[in-house]
Each structure stands twice: as structure tokens, then as C-alpha cells.
């Protein structure tokens, strides 16, 4: 009995030490958070680990050394990964990797520039601000699949795009034109959204700052580069991070707009999806794992190197690491409360399903 109950007091002691002012809060919090955490473990953590395990196995029918057909999973170690990096599959993987990276860089740069421009315009405009705010949500509200179909229709051989441009381009064929059509469609859908978030950031900048800049004789460009950008940077960085993560998992748009098995627009998500569709779970899981690692590295670099404050407002209780010692804790908290914090997974409106 003694040995069975022994660990409990020590555990309590550990909890007490950190919640001295409110005994038992830790346990209550654990109890209340457990449903959410259990769900997340089941639908996120378990699949990720399972994919990692799966990527070390091969499944389905294949022929063994002596020519017999064998069924079921077999442990193959890193074979799936080495297969990815070699030969024809290697070319396909690197192509998908390149496409994914290219879409991410191009789309996010375009969307950020356009988004910031839109935010500046909206910030300056007083007439019609309500109208513009409502319309800017329209591309966001349209499901990605529907917008992909819409752009497919626009980029039809005898569609409006060719007729307006006076061209005869077959947009959905392999080549730069299909890449461009995906970039245009993605930018159309998400640039306004970045604009909305940057606008929220702009509105928290006090007017006095601009007055001071004007008194000091700053030009419009100087004001923008030295004042607006640095002050909007926290909101912008987080927005850009989430856009990058969203574009890295781009699936719906090229899949519906151009189609599967199109080399020019095949992303890592599409490649993994097609493999899984043919029940080649091993290679599919290997692709998915590589994409996951890629996403994780990018996110890590963004948070650590560029200091994107992802937790932002939610973590206002603790003073920021880059900042302002404890004495200013309260002021910091107030400032944070008015700082826009981007919601996860929302920039594309498609949730985890991707851009």
C-alpha cells in the first residue's frame, strides 16, 4: 500500500509548487483541457507517428525474390525514402518539391505585396470602407474547390481570359500557363485576406506616430518603410507564416484547376494523395512525412530566426522574450490585447484541407 500511494504526494508537491496561490488549478486545468488534447492526439499526433511508421513499411502485393506473390506489410527500413530520391520517382519527387516551393515563394510574395497595398488603400479610404470590407471577404468565403472551378472556366480555351487578352492559350495544358493560372487563382483568393489582417494591424498604430514623422519631415516612402512596416511587422509575419504553411500543403487548387498527374503543377500533397489512392501507403506516407518535415523546418525557421510571434495575444500573461522587462508587463499586455492575432489555418479558408 505504502509503495502504491507513494508517488501521489510527490506529484502533488510538484503541482503545488507552481500553483501556490490557487491550489488544484493545475489538475482542474488538466481535466478541462483533456478532451481537446485527447482529440488532437487522436487526429493529429497519432496519424503523424503512424505515417512515420508506415513510411518504413511496404504494403500491397509484390513479388519476392523467388517469384512468389506476397501480401501484407513488410518492414523495409528506409527503402521508401531511398526510392524517393532515386531514379524516375526521384525526378517526380524533386519536381513536386520544386513546384511546391515555387508556388509558395511566388504566391506568398505576390499576396503579401498586394495585401499590404490593399490594406494601405483601405486605411486611407473613408468613403466605402464598409463596402470594401464586405467585398474583401467574398473571395475568402468561396470554397477553394469552387474558386478552382471558376478559374478553370475563366481559363477555358474559349473562355473570358483568352477573349479579354486576345490570346489563344490552352491554360490547362502542361507548361508555364497552368502554373500561372494556379498562381493567379491562389493570389486572387488570399491577397484580400492578408489585406484585411494588415489593415487590422494598421489601425492599431496611433496617429501621433505619423504626426511626429511629419513634423520631422519624413517623406511618404520614409514613413512607410520606417514606421508603418516595422509596426505592422508582427501581424504581417504571422500572416505570412500561415500563408506559407498553407501554400506548402497546396492541394485543391492545382488538383481541380489543372488536374491530377500534371507535371507542371504537381505538388507534394498531390503526389502523396495519388500514391495513397493506389494503396501504395508506404511511399505515400514517406512523401507525407517529408512534406511534414519540410513544413516543420520552415515554421521553426520563421518562429526562431524571424521571431514570428505565433502565440501572440494568447500568451500575453508572460512578458515577451524580445522585450520590455517585467516592469512594463502590464503595458505590454494591453498593447497585445489590441494587436491582431491571426487564426491558424484560416488564411486560405480551407482549413487543414489546404489552400
Amino acid at each position: 500500500m505504502v509503495s502504491a500511494t507513494a508517488p501521489v504526494p510527490t506529484q502533488e508537491k510538484g503541482t503545488k509548487r507552481h500553483t501556490s496561490f490557487n491550489e488544484g488549478t493545475g489538475r482542474l486545468a488538466a481535466l478541462l483541457l483533456s478532451p481537446t488534447l485527447i482529440v488532437l492526439v487522436l487526429v493529429v499526433v497519432y496519424p503523424i507517428l503512424s505515417a512515420l511508421r508506415e513510411s518504413l513499411y511496404t504494403s500491397g502485393q509484390r513479388i519476392d525474390d523467388s517469384g512468389f506473390i506476397i501480401q501484407g506489410s513488410e518492414f523495409v527500413g528506409l527503402d521508401n525514402f531511398s526510392a524517393i530520391f532515386s531514379g524516375e520517382t526521384g525526378d517526380r519527387f524533386w519536381n513536386a518539391f520544386y513546384n511546391t516551393t515555387f508556388f509558395t515563394v511566388t504566391c506568398v510574395v505576390l499576396e503579401t505585396v498586394l495585401g499590404v497595398a490593399m490594406a494601405l488603400v483601405m486605411h486611407k479610404a473613408f468613403k466605402g470602407r464598409a463596402v470594401v470590407r464586405a467585398t474583401i471577404l467574398v473571395p475568402w468565403a468561396i470554397p477553394t474547390v469552387v474558386s478552382a472551378l471558376l478559374w478553370k472556366w475563366i481559363f477555358q480555351a474559349d473562355g473570358i481570359a483568352n477573349s479579354v487578352l486576345g490570346t489563344q492559350i490552352l491554360w490547362s495544358t502542361e507548361g508555364w500557363q497552368s502554373v500561372l493560372s494556379v498562381i493567379i487563382a491562389d493570389t486572387w483568393k488570399t491577397a484580400p485576406f492578408i489585406g484585411l489582417l494588415v489593415l487590422a494591424g494598421l489601425q492599431t498604430i496611433p496617429g501621433e506616430v505619423y504626426e511626429a514623422a511629419k513634423v520631422d519631415g519624413a517623406s511618404v516612402w520614409q514613413t512607410f518603410v520606417r514606421i508603418t512596416l516595422p509596426l505592422v511587422k508582427p501581424a504581417l509575419l504571422v500572416a505570412v507564416l500561415f500563408r506559407i504553411l498553407d501554400t506548402l500543403r497546396l492541394f485543391d487548387l492545382p488538383y481541380v484547376l489543372v488536374g491530377p498527374n500534371k507535371e507542371s503543377v504537381e505538388t507534394l500533397s498531390i503526389l502523396a494523395f495519388l500514391e495513397a489512392n493506389q494503396t501504395r501507403y508506404g511511399p505515400a506516407a514517406a512523401y507525407a512525412t517529408l512534406l511534414f518535415v519540410y513544413v516543420a523546418v520552415v515554421a521553426y525557421v520563421f518562429v526562431r530566426v524571424l521571431g514570428a510571434d505565433v502565440i501572440g495575444e494568447a500568451a500575453q500573461k508572460k512578458p515577451k522574450k524580445n522585450g520590455n522587462g517585467k516592469g512594463r508587463g502590464r503595458g505590454q499586455g494591453e498593447q497585445d490585447a489590441s494587436k491582431p492575432t491571426l487564426l491558424p489555418g484560416l488564411t486560405a479558408g480551407g482549413g487543414g484541407g489546404g489552400a
Binding site: 486545468a29 488538466a30 468613403k127 477553394t144 477573349s163 492541394f251 494523395f273 500575453q316 487543414g352 489546404g354
Partner: protein, 291 residues
């Protein structure tokens, strides 16, 4: 709010002194943005309202208005009506489940002080960053083993992976904006913390919960990858999957007219909701940034 209103007034004065082009430039910019956002959407609506016979006519306004495309979409055999109900059921269930589970977690994160709070927040936000495909592939294999393929739960459960972090995040921001004194007063009057949450906080947080519900619903309604991977039986498929699978009457032709009409049907409720609750959604998306 005070700050937000102050800035415009100041610039307004400046704008009045500025040359005419400086006054009209922002308005022109606004017009450009509105056209940018609405032109493709307008094209979808207009294309849906053409007669199938002049579907490829590129006039800005259709010569003959027609709702044939819409009636075509709902013809028996397309399965679109059923697909809409499926979408509604899946997105609705995801929203309700997410709100029930997420509300408790959000309230905890907003109010209680405990050791691993920031760690838990970081975990929740990190889970939302994972690429959908990394979750879908193992889950697809798992679901085929337990015979969940072609069931609603096979779409609902994986959707929680993006809906739950979203809702917890949004709700935490809303709960945090509410003054702590509310519960304190309720507790002085003899409520337990649970009662204080249920009888005082919940009714007052209704707008925030409602906004979260809309945003979660839109995210779940727009989901494609999971629905495409987990279900291949037509009677279970969601609207997004069915629309992309429409087949034309004449072989390989893509029936764009029907697809645009179906797209309008799928999108219009969301657009109306967005226009009505515009202010709230913007506030929700920026999590309290625009008040």
C-alpha cells in the same frame, strides 16, 4: 477604437487640402479592390444564369437570362441535393463537436493559471500547421482497416484536426476579453465556478461563440481533401466533391454551366452570411484586433 477613429480624421483634413487626385486616389483604389474581389465572382453568377446553348458566349451581360443551369443541377441523378445535405451534416456536426470540446478548453486557457499554459497553447497552434495530407494518409489506412471508409464519421473526425485548434484559438481570445469580475460577482452570489461559466459567461460570450461557429462552419464546409480521400460512394459525398465530379452530357466536355450554378448554390449562403456578419467575422478572424 479611439485610436482607429483618430487617425482617419487627421488624414481627412490633410486630404481636403491636397490636390484633387490625392482625394480621389483612395476612392479609385477602393474601386479597384472591389472589382478585383467581385469580378470573378460576378462571372460565376453570370455564367450560371446563361442558357446552356450560349454558355460559351463571353458577353458581360447574358443576352437571355435563364435558370436552366440551376434546374439541371438539381435534376435527379446528379446527386447534388443529397450532397448538399451531406455537406450540411458533416460541417454542422464538426462545428457542434468543436464548439462543445473547444469551449471548455478555451475557457480554461483564458482564465486558469497553470504551469504548462503556453506549452499547451503552442501545441494547439502547432497541430493546426501540419499538412492535411500527412494526417489523411495514415487515417485512410486506419479507416479502411476498421471499415470506416464511406461513412460520415470518416469525414467528421479528421476535420476536427483543423477545426478544433481554430475554435479554441478564437474562443480563447473572446473569453479573455470578458472581465474577470463577472465570474467573481457570480461566485460571491454563491455560484460554483462551473455555474458561473454556464449561467454568466456563456450567455455573455454568445456573440463570440456564434462568430466562432460561423468561421468553423465555413472552414468545415470548404474542406475537400478529407472528403475526397475518405469517401467514394456517391450518396455520402459532400457537395465540393460532387461538383468537381459532374460529368457532361456529351462525353468528355466539362459541364461548366452546371458547375458554375452548383458553385453559386454552394457559395451564396456563405457570401450572405459573410455580408450579414461581416463585422463579427472580421473581428473573429483578427481575434479581437478590430474592435
Amino acid at each position: 477604437m479611439a485610436v482607429a477613429e483618430k487617425a482617419p480624421k487627421m488624414i481627412d483634413v490633410k486630404a481636403a487640402e491636397a490636390p484633387w487626385w490625392r482625394r480621389w486616389l483612395p476612392l479609385l483604389g477602393v474601386a479597384v479592390i472591389v472589382i478585383y474581389c467581385l469580378a470573378p465572382f460576378y462571372w460565376m453568377v453570370v455564367s450560371a444564369l446563361r442558357r446552356p446553348t450560349d454558355q460559351f458566349d463571353n458577353s458581360i451581360i447574358p443576352k437571355v437570362w435563364s435558370i436552366t443551369n440551376f434546374t439541371d443541377v438539381f435534376k435527379p441523378g446528379t446527386g447534388f441535393g443529397r450532397a448538399l445535405l451531406n455537406s450540411l451534416f458533416v460541417a454542422g456536426t464538426v462545428t457542434i463537436l468543436t464548439l462543445i470540446v473547444g469551449m471548455v478548453a478555451a475557457y480554461t486557457l483564458a482564465r486558469l493559471e497553470f504551469r504548462f499554459k503556453n506549452f499547451v497553447l503552442a501545441i494547439i497552434i502547432t497541430t493546426s500547421m501540419f499538412p492535411g495530407i500527412s494526417l489523411v494518409i495514415p487515417l485512410k489506412k486506419l479507416f479502411s482497416d476498421i471499415e470506416w471508409i464511406n461513412t460520415y464519421q470518416a469525414m467528421i473526425v479528421p476535420s476536427l484536426s483543423f477545426a478544433l485548434p481554430l475554435a479554441v484559438w478564437n474562443l480563447t481570445a473572446f473569453f479573455r476579453q470578458m472581465p474577470r469580475e463577472l465570474e467573481q460577482a457570480a461566485m460571491v452570489d454563491g455560484c460554483t465556478p462551473a455555474q458561473a461559466f454556464r449561467k454568466v459567461i456563456l450567455p455573455l460570450a454568445a456573440p463570440g461563440v456564434f462568430t466562432t461557429a460561423i468561421i468553423t462552419f465555413i472552414a468545415a464546409w470548404n474542406e475537400y481533401l478529407i472528403a475526397l480521400s475518405m469517401v467514394n460512394k456517391k450518396s455520402i459525398q459532400t457537395a465540393n466533391v460532387v461538383i468537381t465530379g459532374f460529368t457532361g452530357t456529351s462525353g468528355r466536355d466539362q459541364p461548366f454551366g452546371s458547375q458554375m450554378a452548383a458553385g453559386v448554390v454552394v457559395t451564396i449562403p456563405l457570401v450572405i452570411a459573410v455580408l450579414i456578419f461581416q463585422r463579427r467575422i472580421v473581428a473573429g478572424l483578427t481575434a479581437g484586433g478590430v474592435k
